[in-house]
């Protein structure tokens, strides 16, 4: 398969397969998670659950002064690369075009220089968190293969995306095909790994906040 056929494949069959597995996997996992149910709580609620769930959804994003000192890097780098990812994925003109071609939705894009800068910062901070994960004994002990795989699945699309826009390392056609392929791999594995937090994050936070409020520790 030459590079032009490779690119056409990832833009047609490959994308079809990846999106289908993604949709299938997400429905499967979300269905499974939200239908698990919980045993009825027969205890009298300590406090009538109000907005505790909703508040927790946002409170958990705030930096806790008590833990900041011991994991400043985790907080800062974590914030930076998540925001960087959001900018690169959602505000790059070519990505918006892709989303528009699939969903019909579109919005204004940022100039390419901003995207470039966001990509570089994202890549640098992702490398930093990887080094931190490996060099900190506790984090290394807690890390499994899936953690490293999830990191690589997220890192590769950003790296290949940067290389393709800068015309580096490989011919543009091959690099673009690799970039799309790496994003497709991310889509395929997202529902079945920890990366599913993209979608489950808000639901689980709400649940925790709500349950805690019933137990008398409302947020």
């Amino acid at each position: 398969m030459d590079q032009d056929l490779f690119l056409t494949w990832v833009r047609s069959t490959g994308l079809n397969i990846a999106l289908s597995i993604f949709v299938l996997g997400m429905l499967w996992r979300l269905f499974e998670i939200y239908t698990l149910g919980r045993k009825p709580d027969l205890a009298v609620p300590r406090r009538v659950a109000g907005a505790s769930g909703l508040r927790t959804m946002f409170r958990r994003s705030l930096i806790s002064p008590r833990t900041y000192g011991s994991s400043a890097l985790g907080y800062i780098a974590g914030y930076v690369f998540h925001i960087g990812l959001a900018i690169v994925v959602l505000l790059f003109a070519q990505h918006i075009k892709l989303i528009q071609s699939i969903t019909g939705l579109s919005w204004p894009s940022l100039p390419a220089q901003f995207i470039d800068a966001a990509a570089v910062v994202t890549l640098a901070t992702m490398l930093l968190v990887l080094v931190d994960r490996i060099s900190t004994p506790v984090k290394r002990f807690l890390s499994t293969f899936q953690d490293y795989a999830a990191w690589a699945l997220t890192f590769l699309p950003v790296l290949t995306g940067y290389l393709v826009t800068k015309h580096l390392l490989l011919p543009y056609t091959t690099m673009l095909a690799l970039h799309i392929l790496s994003a497709e791999l991310l889509l395929i594995f997202l529902p079945f790994t920890k990366l599913i937090h993209v979608f489950t994050l808000w639901g689980s936070r709400w649940y925790n906040g709500d349950v805690n409020a019933r137990k008398g520790v409302a947020t």
């Binding site: 833009r11 079809n16 999106l19 289908s20 949709v23 299938l24 269905f31 003109a93 940022l110 543009y172």
Partner: protein, 361 residues
């Protein structure tokens, strides 16, 4: 057929001055990124070179490549092609027809065996014994194999001869293949494009006549001097791409301001050709300058790469598996839900209530 005269004699006959000829050579040298001194070397060599015999075979093609060459608006350059070479066989351009035409080809092959250049445009059908395109009752495959035997080198002119082109596009009903799929023992140079830029042919021929060898080629067999960079690399609209300024329609403010045509489907980033530098119609413009995105015509399989108006970052064809995936995902989710519920209910029914008395046993 007599041994051909030299290019110098031919130029003198036509009253072309040495000065004009040197200008032509300097232009060629600079286009092929050769050092400045190469211009005089080209001139000295070409002037003494006997015009080589060229046989031009046209297979599954539209004659656009020939049209491009003959109707070029740069006659001083393109007339040179026909003065630099002796075109002994070409369907469209030769006066002879029928047996006479075939005889001129056979004579040229015999007299210049091992020395003539073979130019091919069009792809070669292989399906059903190659019957889909024949010349004088012979299949293209048969003719190509015979003529290629005595050729010094082969120039595949146009995307069809270089990569299969439009005849080879899905579903490829004639089993079309490029020259390089059939001929393996001769140097082949691919001058792709639909059609290719006339001056690229001139440059390749001049290089061959001057240095006696083909120019440096890329991994697809194309001369690097013309196909070394992408259209996007040399596009005058590139700064707008870098700034993220894109025309959204062919008639919006962005289009009028000359912004990048990426979102309108331009294939410039994946297309290697010299359009952005040599341009067309005597250096007037090239497609992007006229307001239309690049189609990617000098690349293999350009016809199968999806719509010409679909941006490179979008799917080449409508997505069609998603509905099945929704159904399958929901079904698997529902199945697992039922299994989980059954497990819970089973655990519940097996649950035995313990009393204080039981614990004290």
């Amino acid at each position: 057929m007599n041994e051909h005269d030299t290019l110098g004699e031919r130029l003198a006959q036509q009253g072309i001055s040495r000065r004009s000829f040197l200008k032509f050579c300097a232009a060629l040298a600079s286009m092929m990124a050769l050092p400045p001194g190469a211009a005089s070397a080209i001139a000295e060599t070409l002037i003494k070179t006997k015009r080589p015999s060229v046989i031009w075979l046209s297979f599954q093609e539209c004659t656009g490549c020939t049209e491009s060459l003959t109707r070029s608006d740069t006659p001083t350059l393109e007339n040179m092609i026909f003065n630099m070479i002796s075109l002994d066989y070409h369907h469209t351009l030769q006066a002879a027809s029928g047996y006479g035409a075939e005889k001129s080809r056979e004579d040229a092959m015999k007299e210049f065996y091992g020395k003539y250049l073979l130019l091919v445009d069009g792809s070669i059908p292989l399906k059903d014994g190659g019957i889909y395109s024949t010349i004088a009752g012979r299949t293209n495959l048969d003719l190509l194999q015979e003529v290629a035997k005595g050729a010094a080198a082969i120039v595949a002119v146009g995307t069809c001869a270089s990569f299969g082109g439009i005849p080879e596009a899905r579903p490829n009903p004639t089993g079309a293949v490029p020259v390089s799929d059939i001929i393996k023992d001769k140097p082949i140079i691919n001058v792709s494009g639909c059609p290719p830029i006339p001056v690229v042919i001139t440059g390749v021929l001049a290089h061959y006549l001057t240095f006696g060898e083909l120019p440096a080629l890329d991994d697809l067999g194309r001369p690097k001097s013309f196909y070394g960079q992408s259209i996007h690399d040399r596009c005058y609209r590139r700064p707008f791409y870098d700034q993220g300024k894109f025309a959204k329609t062919f008639d919006d403010e962005g289009a009028r301001n000359g912004w990048c045509l990426f979102e309108l489907g331009c294939k410039g980033p994946i297309t290697h050709n010299a359009c952005a530098t040599t341009k067309w119609n005597g250096g007037t413009s090239f497609p992007i300058e006229s307001g239309h995105g690049c189609l990617g015509c000098s690349e293999p399989h350009f016809w199968d790469g999806g719509s010409f108006y679909a941006p490179l970052s979008t799917p080449t064809s409508p997505l069609n598996l998603a509905t099945d995936a929704v159904v399958a995902g929901a079904a698997i989710g529902a199945g697992i839900t039922i299994a989980n519920r059954m497990k819970k209910n089973a655990a519940k029914s097996e649950h035995q209530t313990a009393t204080v008395a039981d614990l004290e046993k």
